[in-house]
């Protein structure tokens, strides 16, 4: 509540304008929410209701058949497990590499830091291309191994810049000097002092890398051949996008039912695959915002 003196009465034009803004934002929210609500509603409706188009906003004939179908699909379960392993492994590697690279670049008297900055910024400007990158992975013998998922995208320049900015602003040079006076080595300082002070930035980096890995399919598609290694997103692609809807040789009623169920399962599958991201979303939202702000500070 501001004092009466401070407020100048809003003109009627301004009130109209403000109303328009509220309408615009409300419409935007509806447009963004509708597909999400629809997918969730369809996923917990009966197969017949979805196929016949009865579901348009709220669930019709509540049923969990779609979810049962998803959890009975061994490919999906395997993909889910693979994706969890890839995400954990990749995130650990990526955060580790990012921290040990970004921390030195944040130190004031670290000789060569501008060289290293240019060294990584060049990689943002010049891109070798898909095929040369593929050939490198091939030459290293990583094709069709989990390493092809864990290593080639293990560092992102943007994340390095974010981490460097954080270390630069929150680990004062005096602290480093004091620790050196006490005879603490750089690595011990990094491990025992910097890391505990950097929990927020570690969370930002981990979330960014984890969401990236959980959601990516393309590297898996070009580097992996063995189905046992496929991450969830690749299984999703097979089931949701590539797979044709043709049924096997069953009688027509049975076939129709199978098809309805397969159709319904797609909705449930979308929901199931998004659950891990949904769980971390409340934290992720906060930390992603923080990360974006750190990155935009000109270093």
């Amino acid at each position: 509540m501001s004092s009466k003196q401070g407020t100048i009465k809003e003109s009627s034009n301004d009130r109209v304008f403000l109303t328009l803004i509220y309408i615009f934002l409300s419409l935007l929210m509806i447009v963004i929410l509708y597909p999400l609500v629809y997918i969730v509603s369809a996923s917990i409706s009966s197969p017949e209701a979805v196929t016949s188009g009865q579901v348009w906003l709220w669930p019709v004939d509540f049923s969990l058949e779609g979810y049962i179908e998803v959890f009975n699909n061994s490919d999906v379960i395997r993909g889910f497990r693979n994706s969890i392993l890839y995400t954990i492994g990749y995130t650990l590697i990526a955060v580790f590499l990012t921290v040990i690279f970004a921390y030195p670049l944040s130190r004031k008297n670290f000789y060569g830091k501008s060289f290293f900055m240019i060294f990584i910024l060049i990689t943002m400007l010049f891109y070798g291309g898909l095929i040369p990158e593929y050939l490198v992975v091939q030459q290293l013998g990583m094709l069709d191994t989990p390493w092809a998922i864990l290593i080639p995208k293990a560092m992102a320049v943007w994340q390095i810049i974010i981490a460097r900015t954080f270390f630069y602003t929150s680990i004062p040079e005096e602290l480093v000097e004091a620790s050196e006076m006490d005879g603490c080595s750089s690595i011990r300082f990094l491990w025992h002092v910097v890391l505990p002070l950097s929990k927020p930035i570690i969370a930002v980096l981990a979330l960014m890398y984890a969401v990236f890995q959980w959601n990516s399919y393309f590297d898996a598609m070009i580097f992996l051949r063995t189905e046992e290694l496929f991450p969830l997103q690749l299984e999703l692609r097979e089931i949701l996008i590539t797979q044709s809807e043709s049924g096997a040789n069953q009688d027509i009623a049975e076939q129709q039912k199978r098809q309805q169920l397969a159709n319904l399962m797609q909705y449930s599958l979308i929901v199931v695959s998004s659950i891990p991201v949904l769980i971390i979303y409340p934290f992720a939202q906060k930390y992603f915002v923080k990360g974006m702000l750190l990155g935009s500070v000109k270093g």
Binding site: M29, P35, T98, N109, L140, S273
Partner: protein, 317 residues
């Protein structure tokens, strides 16, 4: 004069060497730690840059990158002599320009609108729900598009039939591909992209708002004269970055949305590179096409950066 200049240069050199030596002594453990990340960049970023020379060679697995014979501009000539080339370039440019025209201004509008309303449940809900789609994977977004636009059981066609319209096979029409791609992208990233502008708006000096109020400025005038100038530097930087990425746009999503019926507009340079290179194993030719794409990107980035520097006084470098 010359002598003193030489002297100062000499002093600078000596201090440089001195600084380097001190830094190495003091931080040697950090330099050792950095070996691994540096190797990462060399192997996965710099080696592919050099590997791009196979665009000028006839690469074969037996001879490898170095031994394979040079063929000059052969692959580039083959590409440009193929009538497909111009379709690909056209498709790529149209799709990216359309995307830029939609997804660049929308977040600015959203941020300016959000900045006008008071903090509260409504504002926080708008922010929470508009960010959410950003976290959904490309595969899932494309699946949602396919499910909802399906001519047989999709909700959009069901609703259209309910009001008496004919069902449309949206994804089967080349003419609709760009709209579907661009607007679904806007749906996914507008909220997230607005964050950076909101941050810039939060940094506006409150006194400027007071001054505008005292001058009797309307909300619209305040947006125009205070808000927009305040976020201009951010707008310019984001624009430069977007143009720099113009030809590298959403390729993973384009590939998933493709089907034989919409290839006429959905085949872009990068999907072509993937098909020629990884699927057909025509490595040299695909690299040449990819290289052409990257170079166009780089040129665009440099041009836009120069224009931005001239017009607004700030650029990326």
């Amino acid at each position: 004069m010359d002598q003193s200049l030489d002297q100062s240069k000499e002093i600078k050199k000596v201090t440089q060497r001195h600084l380097a030596k001190r830094s190495f002594q003091r931080h040697w453990q950090l330099y050792i730690l950095m070996i691994l990340p540096v190797l990462y960049f060399i192997i996965f970023k710099y080696v592919p840059m050099l590997g791009a020379v196979i665009a000028f060679k006839d690469y074969n697995v037996v001879q490898g990158i170095i031994e394979s014979p040079w063929v000059g501009w052969k692959h580039f000539e083959n590409f440009f002599n193929n009538p497909v080339a111009w379709d690909l370039i056209k498709n790529t440019l149209f799709l990216s320009l359309y995307q830029l025209a939609v997804t660049f201004p929308l977040p600015i509008l959203l941020a300016l609108a959000l900045n006008e309303i008071r903090d509260g449940i409504f504002k926080r809900s708008v922010q929470m729900f508009t960010y959410a789609p950003y976290f959904i994977s490309t595969v899932v977004i494309v699946s949602m598009i396919i499910l909802m636009l399906s001519p047989r059981s999709g909700i959009i066609n069901t609703l259209m039939e309910a009001v008496g319209l004919d069902a449309v096979n949206f994804l089967g029409q080349a003419s609709m591909f760009r709209d579907i791609f661009v607007w679904s992208d806007a749906w996914q990233i507008t909220g997230y992209s607005a964050i950076i502008y909101l941050a810039a708006l939060a940094g506006v000096d409150k006194q400027q708002y007071e001054a505008a109020k005292i001058d009797g400025a309307s909300r619209l005038q305040k947006i125009w004269n205070v808000d927009i100038p305040a976020i201009m530097p951010t707008i310019v930087i984001i624009l430069i970055l977007s143009v720099g990425n113009l030809m590298a746009i959403g390729f993973e999503k384009v590939y998933l949305l493709q089907n034989p019926l919409n290839l006429g507009t959905s085949e872009i340079l990068q999907t072509y590179v993937y098909k020629m290179g990884i699927i057909n194993a025509d490595f040299s030719f695909a690299t040449a096409v990819g290289l052409f794409n990257s170079i166009i990107n780089l040129i665009l980035l440099i041009i836009v950066n120069e224009i931005a520097k001239k017009v607004s006084g700030n650029g990326l470098w």
